[in-house]
Amino acid sequence: MVSVKKLVLDVLKPHAPNSLEFAKAIAEQGRDYHVAITVEEVDEKTETVVMVIKGEDIDLNAIEQTISALGGSLHSIDEVEVINHRSPD
């Protein structure tokens, strides 16, 4: 079974909700999600953030839906960390 352990996402989001509320909403998508957001650029109505998400098995679809629901859009997936758990033969 392949599971996603880490994602680094480039996201464009409106100023509201702020990064803390955004991070909380993303973290709520998984039981063990660890979310870190860094604001890279601030414009008049939007901001570009880099989102680092760590967890045992990250669900990218759920994260993308949450980003859209909060008014943001996923620009790119900049880094991934995936592990293949091989069942013992």
């Binding site: 464009l12 409106p14 509201a16 909700p17 109505k45 629901a69 909060l70 008014g71 943001g72 859009s73």
Partner: protein, 194 residues
């Protein structure tokens, strides 16, 4: 509870709490002062027919409520739609299904309800003593004077509320709005005595 937290979230992301609070106070003050004016007019004219007084006050209260709701809805809906379009242009994406899209549809309704209900609620509280005329008469209390007293209390408390928001000393803020109420009554007395 879920719907309240959802509405709270939409109010927060659109930064509408301040607008809602301002509408509540401004239109609530409008309602209280209008009722004070009408009831003072009836008191000065010596009108004793409670049915006439209550009908006139209720008519004004309903009109204030409907006017508050419709005017706030029309202006807020237009403002929210404009803000949503500007945000969509900045984001280069359709935000109809996002929290911002939902806010542009629901927040005008919430603000309109606050703007409409505030004067209606305060008006109903002010004219309530007129409904207990027989009970109040037993204690030799003029229901019109009781209504005027309640109106002054509401105006005073709205002043305190505004003072707390603005960081002004509560008594000073309350006395300032009370002065506006007294001034209104004074003008009505002056106009009706000629």
């Amino acid at each position: 509870m879920r719907i309240f937290s959802w509405l709270g979230f939409l109010l927060k992301i659109t930064r509408s709490q301040v607008i809602a609070r301002r509408y509540f106070v401004v239109n609530g003050f409008d309602g209280a002062l209008t009722m004070l004016g009408i009831i003072t007019g009836f008191y000065v004219s010596g009108e004793k027919n409670t049915f006439v007084i209550v009908s006139a006050c209720l008519g004004a209260a309903v009109a204030l409520g409907v006017s508050g709701f419709s005017s706030a809805y029309i202006s807020e809906a237009a403002e929210r739609l404009k803000e949503l379009k500007e945000l969509e242009n900045a984001m280069l994406s359709d935000l109809y299904n996002s929290a911002h899209g939902q806010a542009s549809r629901f927040i005008p309704l919430v603000i309109a309800l606050i703007n409409g209900l505030a004067p209606l609620l305060f008006s109903l509280i002010i004219i309530a003593p007129l409904g207990f005329q027989s009970h109040l008469s037993a204690y030799a209390i003029d229901p019109l004077l009781a209504s005027i007293g309640i109106a002054f209390c509401i105006i005073f408390f709205l002043g305190i509320f505004l003072g707390r928001i603005g960081g002004v000393f509560w008594l000073l803020a309350g006395l300032m709005t009370l002065f506006i109420g007294l001034l209104t009554c004074g003008i009505i007395f002056l106009l009706t005595s000629y």
